[in-house]
């Protein structure tokens, strides 16, 4: 894993990718810092961190698009996959390399609060907490990008799909606001989830009887839940989609609250996507 991590970090700075990422990130964060802190003489730095989260939409695809897609295009995955290295080790090496570049960039932005501290007192621990949140949010986005990169051997497609996926996560809160919260829609949504599960089962094993069984069991569970606790279906869509809302969990950090649950949430979110990436690579070898 360390060998892959080292190679990837080096590759970022041997190619323009690392510099483009850092340059763009620092440029934008510098703008925001200048406009919202320096020109207005405001000491609230957390606001800057909060308002530059949209930056991930643009810079994360740059960082992650080539991670795995280039390996399969250049056939260098043949080297990695036929070496005694495990797939998990390889994926983690790549993930931490991308996170590492992000972390280095983030450390450079620490200059901004230090500049602020010359002109007055800043809330040091609030800012540290804000940085933790910002870092975790970015790492979760990078995990999504990594996963997308494992699906294609075309970097441009990887970048565009990553951008779309992040955009979706970004506007998820607005989408949620417009969704119905009544009971009927909740039941319909639960049935759609069951249908999705059936489709997934069908495409992986192509056995119609198993699918029917899965459908019956799924609908049975929905029915049982409905008769035992019908309030469960009130606003079900909203509650399910909120699981994916990365930004909602970030709100606490911008307010200077450091609590455990969003930290656990972000780490699990990233872990799931890293795991899915490993599965995706394994699946490609089996097909």
């Amino acid at each position: 894993m360390l060998a892959v991590l080292r190679r990837e970090l080096k590759a970022y700075y041997l190619s323009p990718t690392g510099y483009i990422f850092m340059g763009f990130f620092l440029l934008l964060s510098g703008f925001f810092f200048a406009f919202s802190n320096l020109f207005t003489a405001s000491p609230s730095y957390l606001g800057v961190l909060g308002s530059i989260t949209f930056i991930f939409l643009i810079v994360v695809p740059i960082l992650t698009m080539r991670l795995l897609s280039e390996e399969s295009r250049q056939k260098t995955d043949q080297l990695l996959l036929t070496s005694p290295l495990s797939v998990t080790g390889m994926v983690l090496g790549k993930y931490f390399a991308a996170v590492g570049v992000f972390l280095i960039t983030l450390l450079i932005t620490c200059i901004y609060p230090i500049i602020l501290s010359f002109f007055g007192t800043i809330a040091v621990w609030e800012i540290v907490g804000g940085y933790v949140g910002f870092f975790l949010l970015g790492s979760a986005f990078i995990a999504v990008g990594l996963f997308v990169s494992s699906m294609t051997d075309n970097q441009v497609i990887a970048a565009v799909v990553t951008f779309s996926a992040l955009l979706f996560l970004w506007i998820l809160d607005w989408i949620i606001e417009g969704l119905p919260t009544d009971r009927v829609s909740g039941i319909v949504f639960a049935c759609l989830l069951v249908a999705g599960a059936v489709a997934l089962v069908y495409f992986s094993i192509r056995n119609i009887y198993v699918c029917i069984a899965v459908a019956l069991v799924g609908l049975g569970i929905v029915a049982v839940l409905y008769f035992t606790n019908e309030f469960l279906f009130d606003g079900l869509i909203v509650r399910v989609l909120e699981w994916f809302s990365l930004l909602k969990r970030y709100d606490n950090f911008t307010l200077g609250i450091l609590s455990l649950s969003p930290i656990v949430y972000y780490i699990s979110f990233s872990s799931i996507f890293v795991f899915l990436t490993v599965r995706m690579i394994e699946k490609r070898r089996w097909s």
Binding site: L2, A3, V4, R6, R7, K10, A11, L14, S15, Q74, K75, T76, D77, Q78, L79, L80, L81, T82, S83, P84, L85, S86, R285, W286, S287
Partner: protein
């Protein structure tokens, strides 16, 4: 050393490898011969654990590729058809990285890298970016990569493809040299290459193994050793007549005159008869000088056609 049992790989409806079984003993050099798309690369990719088989199993040194992939991968050095090189690294950085992922001990790493670079003669390009290397050098870096970690089994997919004749000879000699203490499986679609290097040949077609034998036996079995191409200075009709009367000659065909006053002939002899000497004496008595005489090797296509038609007759 390498055991392949009933290997099958399906891509949807298409069967790339169909029930392939073979064993390679320790120290053997085995050639995989077949046209493009026969399933050579797929089989190699499965043995090395790059892709998985649909059915069947691969065992290396008693370890199963599915159950103990790490143990198997440790024992195999693989050079794919397109060497998996990181173009943005120098040769040395690249080999260093390969040593790291193959978990080579730090202390012996440098020493073994030097030895390998020496063996494949890439020491003088070690500081250059792989991007800027010629095809021949890239191929050698690919081979060096396979040699790192001193694996007992080497799997080389078309190791000489795209090289110039001098490099081909160098690589072949190197493979022979490596064959002394390695088990080697190499693939090729060039027959002379396989017969020059390998002790045993597996011919594969449409995902099936159609023949497995030593190169000599294979050509003997196909029974077509005695074909000569001869250029004789003399009138065509007389020369052809003279040669047809020689004992042991099966057929004589004229392939036209390439030099004025000469004739080019394709002479086919009966099985197991060397007609070169009688042919020389006969022509010399008649004072028709031989300007050129060379045996014609079977081409892969011919062997191939023969082997595949043979199979069809059997089944």
């Amino acid at each position: 050393m390498v055991q392949v049992i009933n290997l099958t790989k399906r891509y949807g409806q298409h069967v790339a490898v169909d029930q392939v079984s073979f064993t390679v003993e320790k120290g053997e050099i085995v050639g995989f011969l077949g046209p493009n798309g026969a399933g050579k690369t797929t089989t190699m990719n499965i043995i090395t654990g790059y892709i998985s088989a649909t059915e069947g199993s691969v065992k290396v040194d008693g370890f199963d590729i599915l159950e103990e992939p790490e143990e198997v991968k440790k024992r195999i050095g693989y050079m794919p058809e397109f060497p998996p090189l990181y173009l943005d690294m120098t040769v040395q950085e690249y080999l260093n990285f390969v040593s790291d992922i193959k978990k080579i001990d730090r202390k012996t790493k440098k020493q073994s890298m030097e030895k390998i670079m020496d063996m494949v003669k890439i020491g003088d390009v070690r500081k250059r970016l792989i991007k800027n290397l010629s095809k021949g050098y890239r191929q050698r870096v690919g081979l060096a990569q396979a040699l790192i970690g001193a694996p007992p089994v080497l799997i080389l997919d078309e190791p000489t493809v795209g090289l110039d004749p001098k490099q081909i000879i160098e690589i072949r000699n190197l493979i022979k040299e490596l064959g002394k203490d390695h088990t080697i499986i190499l693939s090729s679609h060039i027959l002379p290459e396989v017969s020059a290097v390998c002790e045993r040949v597996l011919i594969i077609n449409k995902g099936k193994i159609v023949a497995s034998d030593t190169p000599e036996n294979l050509s003997k079995r196909l029974g077509d050793t005695g074909r000569l191409s001869v250029r004789v200075a003399g009138p065509e009709r007389q020369v052809v007549k003279l040669l047809r009367e020689l004992p042991g000659v099966k057929s004589v065909d004229s392939t036209g005159a390439k030099e004025p006053g000469t004739v080019d002939l394709l002479v086919e002899a009966e099985k197991d008869i060397d007609i070169r000497r009688p042919l020389f004496h006969a022509l010399s008595r008649a004072e028709y000088p031989i300007l050129q005489m060379k045996p014609i090797d079977l081409t892969l296509e011919e062997i191939f056609l023969q082997v595949t038609t043979e199979e069809r007759e059997v089944s």
